[in-house]
């Protein structure tokens, strides 16, 4: 019995891999130099995040380190700080230190873990919620459709960052509350995209066929409608990932997200603006922001490439 299941799953996984390899989508995507650059950027960030998560202790790098590190030192490869009490090597503090003598390099690396972790949670939640609502709205139509989509319309009537701020006013501040707020902000976009895609799929004859064969609503939705909507969902998720990372950091920057002291990119930028701008300490703002920009650029390059690869009209222009 168990061997049978084994071979069966082997067969499906092999055919899945084969299908993936043969798909014009993937070869199209991998021949797009910009999309590949995006994939490389994302993978590099994931490596940095996992590395920082495994080797740094978040409590230690959140604390003030007066006495051990130089205070507000510029990046060490630019020369040592005049305020330093003891000398250190060229690569001791590649991104410099902040006003509380913390090593910005270590904090920026750890920030990658926080950004990717909370970005994934936000995008994951809003994808699930939006896909569920969109598919249900498309399938049941009528009153259900109207109630769901008109609610989505109301949410879409607010500029996204402002809706997030309004929700923060309701939920209160903190990283997890910001995640919930942004989940609700992004859900309507997924619902709209998925509803549109699902409506198209529902016109196909195989839906009627499976219904005629007695398939339940859930089976039709999960086995037939959902798989055929995966392409637009994936593109939307990828593009939304970049947005989620920017918005999460923005809310921390405004003081509603991560706790002060947390090595989150938004908090570091806020500190840089509060204390670093007028003293000319550019490294406080520069490095965390650079990492945000690179990560977001990675997701935007990949998302863009995916959209081009899925759109046959784009393929025409490439030829």
């Amino acid at each position: 019995m168990s061997t049978e299941t084994q071979t069966q799953s082997d067969a499906t996984s092999r055919s899945f891999l084969d299908r993936l390899r043969a798909s014009p989508f993937l070869s199209e995507l991998l021949s797009n130099r910009l999309a590949v650059t995006g994939i490389v950027l994302i993978l590099a960030m994931v490596l940095v995040a996992v590395f920082a998560r495994s080797f740094f202790d978040v409590a230690a790098i959140s604390q003030t380190k007066i006495g051990t590190n130089p205070n507000m030192a510029q990046p060490s490869w630019l020369g040592e700080s005049a305020l330093a009490t003891q000398s250190y090597g060229t690569w001791a503090y590649p991104f410099g230190t902040d006003i509380q003598s913390r090593d910005i390099f270590v904090r920026v690396l750890y920030g990658a873990w926080l950004a990717l972790k909370f970005g994934t949670i936000t995008v994951g939640f809003s994808t699930l919620l939006g896909v569920g609502l969109g598919i249900v709205a498309a399938y049941y139509g009528d009153v259900t459709d109207n109630v769901i989509m008109r609610t989505m319309d109301v949410l879409l009537a607010f500029p996204s960052l402002l809706l997030a701020l309004a929700l923060v006013a309701i939920f209160g501040t903190g990283l997890w509350k910001v995640v919930i707020a942004l989940t609700l902000v992004y859900t309507p976009r997924f619902a709209r995209v998925v509803r549109g895609a699902a409506l198209k799929v529902l016109e196909d004859e195989y839906i009627d066929a499976s219904q005629a064969l007695g398939a339940t609503d859930v089976r039709v939705l999960v086995r037939h409608v959902l798989p055929n909507c995966l392409a637009p969902i994936t593109v939307q998720s990828t593009l939304n990932f970049g947005l989620a990372i920017i918005d999460l950091a923005a809310l921390s920057f405004l003081g509603f997200g991560a706790e002060p002291g947390t090595p989150s990119w938004g908090i570091m930028l806020a500190n840089g603006v509060d204390h670093g701008l007028l003293t000319g300490a550019w490294w406080w703002s520069f490095f965390p922001g650079l990492f945000i920009a690179l990560t977001v650029l990675g997701f935007n390059l990949l998302g863009d490439g995916m959209r081009d690869a899925l759109d046959p009209r784009m393929r025409e222009t490439v030829d």
């Binding site: 008109r150 996204s160 402002l162 938004g266 670093g276 000319g280 650029l297 935007n300």
Partner: protein, 337 residues
Amino acid sequence: MTSWRFVLKRVLLLVPVLLGVATFVFAILHLAPGDPARVIAGQRATTQQVVQVRQALGLDDPIWVQYLRYLGDVLRFDFGQSYVVQKGTPVLSILESRLPVTVELAFYGQILGILLGIPLGLLSAIKQDSVTDHLTRVGALTGISVPIYWSGPLVILLFAQYLDWLPATGRIDTAFDVTQVTGFITVDTLIHGNLAAFQSAALHMLLPAAVIGVYSMALISRMMRSSMLEVVRQDYMRTARAKGQGAKITMMKHGFRNALIPVVTVIGIQFGTLLGGAVLTETVFGIAGIGTLLVNAIQVGDYPVVQGTVLVFALLFTMVNLFVDVTYSYLDPRIQQ
């Protein structure tokens, strides 16, 4: 021609959306944890003050009475009073002095984005797959990947700290005292005929508008490019060329005009992002618009101000989208069917 029936239909469709918006804004106060009267009066208020607030605002009434009263107030533009930010001042008059600041910033940012984005996108499409095209595309993608709260500090560091060419924060040099007429500082200084003040205001506007403008330029140039490439393959373009019309004239007269249609939509959609960007830009550059007002009000828990500001932002966004829809139907009459 835009038919008035279409405009009327669009406006009527807005009614349920705006009702939903008002309901959500009403709910902000009642969904926030704790007793609304305590929330409004503030954490440090005495029990007596809380009772006073509760009576003054009728928070003892059944919720539906409060809801209907709120809707009535909103229709008369009565948003209540501020309790913390500017204690005792009607929220409406705070908004009146702050709103033009944000609108002015968003306006200049948008203009910059349009003036740079459309030519860049056009150039990119005409020279498809050239070095110029690749540079523009990567530049545009980078433009939307750079957060405003990073580009803002960086331009301040570069142009204000190191080069000392432009002022870092504020709207105008503190030496100038400009009485408010329209609230738009670049307009007000001109009305007073004070050219030195106008110059100061314009210089202060440059960096924040540029930061917002780059973002909007990136979105517009991307849309312009793809829309132009789409139009170029249409039959009417070939027909025009076959009739002996020159390549350039065809491109501009038939191509460009039709390609602009989807760009108009993008300009409308990204206006929301622009308003969000204004909140962040105002924070970075220390500009007292409704963005900083909202952030401030949330920090201190001034709920009437939060509600009023959120409502005004949603109204502004909805109105711009209505305007865009109507423009769209004017450019492409087929949409009206």
